[in-house]
Symmetry: none
Subunit: 122 residues, 4 copies
DNA sequence: GTGGTCTAGACCACC
DNA sequence: GTGGTCTAGACCACA
């Protein structure tokens, strides 16, 4: 995974997004331990405090929980993970519609184009 | 339009993307004159040289052409614009599939979700 | 107001408590602007980041809100402030009962002692 | 009992307070031997000299007395213990009034709130 | 070695 | 000058 940040958007927010993706995508599985703060910070090329903040916020949202002296773990609540997947996928789809709308495509055309793409690509 | 840049990606490349969007989306119409380099540079909060490079590259790609002492214009070649729209929309669609694949969705599910979204949102 | 901290309890938590007291006690009135982070930090003899964290948490709790480039303000929601007062006063009373229980006094004795104190002191 | 200290207040003073609480609360009973200095010091996570000072001061106040080669004992004078209990409880009550005054409650309200609390809590 | 906290100092956007 | 963010580096408690 490559970490590319956008200027003008708080880095810790973007870190949260990336980690959410890993959770929703199954790179970090329910109940599993995730790498220590410092390791994730190094991987992302970011100060440990910044990564710490991102993880703390995710903890507050209930996606992670931390065990003192042991590590951080992904929540085991299926409902929460389902919700996360749903919200992320809807976000992506919404962005697609916004972008393609800008290109002058209407709903029908977008749905058709997506279906076509799915059929053509191997 | 807001300009948000990604760290670690050449800015002129990102400028090109944004301008392509404006052309494909009709903000800059075929045959129309686009704002002067300096104006675009100020708007984007970027050095005029950087914007200049982005525009030159777009000229090389044939999307723009410049008329000495007059300014830069959007190409009038319909085919080129069609191609641009097509490539941009395919890029967006491809990204959608990549992202939703990460979330564990297969093609069928993605197409269904997109169709569903188009139906539900007012 | 003197700032005395307890070892073994996160300072930012104690800062939150003190500021809550000021809000509930009317030192910081509803809708009013509170002093800037840096000023409060100096007053408390604490790093600005620490005070910042305390204030951010209070914001998350809804007791404060911040206006960029202007300052931080106390919420105007009466209900929230009422709740704060209630919870603080109950906390104090509960602590009193705990302490006096340790001294071997039962409820009746405690209530009597409090009533007595109120009568005697000028 | 957990030992939590306040920064900016002499530790031996705080140790005295805690030990007074144990005496008044009956953890250390009249005439009983209390644990050796070193043990108390370890328990409190404090230098033995500091604990020694706290105990000496309590001796000066008459709450403890030491028997050479044997150890330290809690005083058996009932009057003294009664006084201690009284002063501690009054201190707690006074603090309550101070805190609730800050919240804008007057004496009547405070007494009422305390009585109410005693009635409601199981 | 883990998460958690704190400090010191810096930079940014906004007005 | 305001709030907000980020870095670098340090210390702590816990097991």
């Amino acid at each position: 995974m490559e970490w590319v940040f956008k200027e003008g958007v708080a880095i810790y927010t973007q870190l949260m997004e990336q980690i959410k993706l890993r959770i929703a995508g199954g790179t970090f599985r329910p109940g599993e331990k995730i790498p220590p703060v410092r390791e994730l910070a190094v991987e992302a090329g970011v100060n440990p405090n910044t990564m710490q903040r991102a993880l703390s916020e995710l903890e507050r949202e209930g996606l992670l929980y931390s065990v003192r002296t042991s590590g951080r773990y992904v929540t085991e609540e299926e409902a929460m993970l389902k919700t996360l997947q749903k919200s992320l996928s809807e976000k992506f789809i919404q962005e697609l519609f916004e972008n393609l709308n800008k290109l002058g495509m209407d709903r029908g055309e977008i749905v058709a184009a997506v279906a076509q793409w799915a059929k053509e690509e191997q």
